[in-house]
């Protein structure tokens, strides 16, 4: 079963330099991500960027991931 740490590392690999914290119970996860890439992006685009970093895990091992995405300084 996938663990919060696995998700954290995947997001950090996909968004170098981002500040990431993940909690969850093995199916439903919550992640807070602060990354430069989010600057000037809509909430939808920000979530898509995070989903990209998680590849095919999203919707499979990760049933649900609620996201709080911020650009630095927000």
């Amino acid at each position: 079963m996938i663990q919060p740490d696995d998700i954290k590392q995947m997001i950090e690999r996909g968004l170098p330099g981002a500040h990431v914290s993940v909690t969850g119970d093995g199916h439903h996860f919550e992640a807070e991500v602060t990354a430069d890439e989010f600057t000037g992006k809509s909430m939808l685009q920000r979530h898509q960027i995070v989903y990209q970093a998680l590849g095919d895990k999203m919707g499979n091992e990760i049933h649900a991931l609620s996201l709080r995405t911020q650009a630095p300084g927000e």
């Binding site: 939808l44 979530h47 898509q48 989903y51 095919d56 919707g59 649900a64 609620s66």
Partner: protein, 104 residues
């Protein structure tokens, strides 16, 4: 007709479209249920599609919208987002405005 064309056709058939797990009466997932509640609270008239009964559309949507999970809300053929974003928009009164505008 391939899946991407079918999706385009479904999205052009109504201004407000929700792809979900189950149906508004019998949602099969908490997030899909929440999405239908929010649309109800906004007084939205919408078409919903049960992706559990149509695996081709389910897979096709992931490519079409670059969004891997469900529910997925579309206004005038454009992806608004999933449950998370709908909740956020609803909290700041945006979802109501977007839907009213889409329904024209």
């Amino acid at each position: 007709m391939d899946t991407q064309d079918k999706i385009r056709e479904q999205l052009s058939a109504d201004k407000v479209v929700l792809y979900m797990k189950g149906t508004p009466k019998f949602p099969q997932c908490g997030f899909s249920a929440k999405a239908t509640q929010l649309l109800g609270a906004c007084g939205a008239k919408y078409t919903s599609y049960d992706i559990l009964s149509d695996p081709e559309i389910r897979q096709g949507l992931k490519e079409y919208s670059n969004w891997p999970t469900f529910p997925q809300l579309y206004l005038n053929g454009e992806l608004v987002g999933g449950c998370d974003i709908m909740i956020e928009l609803f909290k700041n009164g945006e979802l109501q405005k977007l839907i009213a505008k889409a329904m024209g």
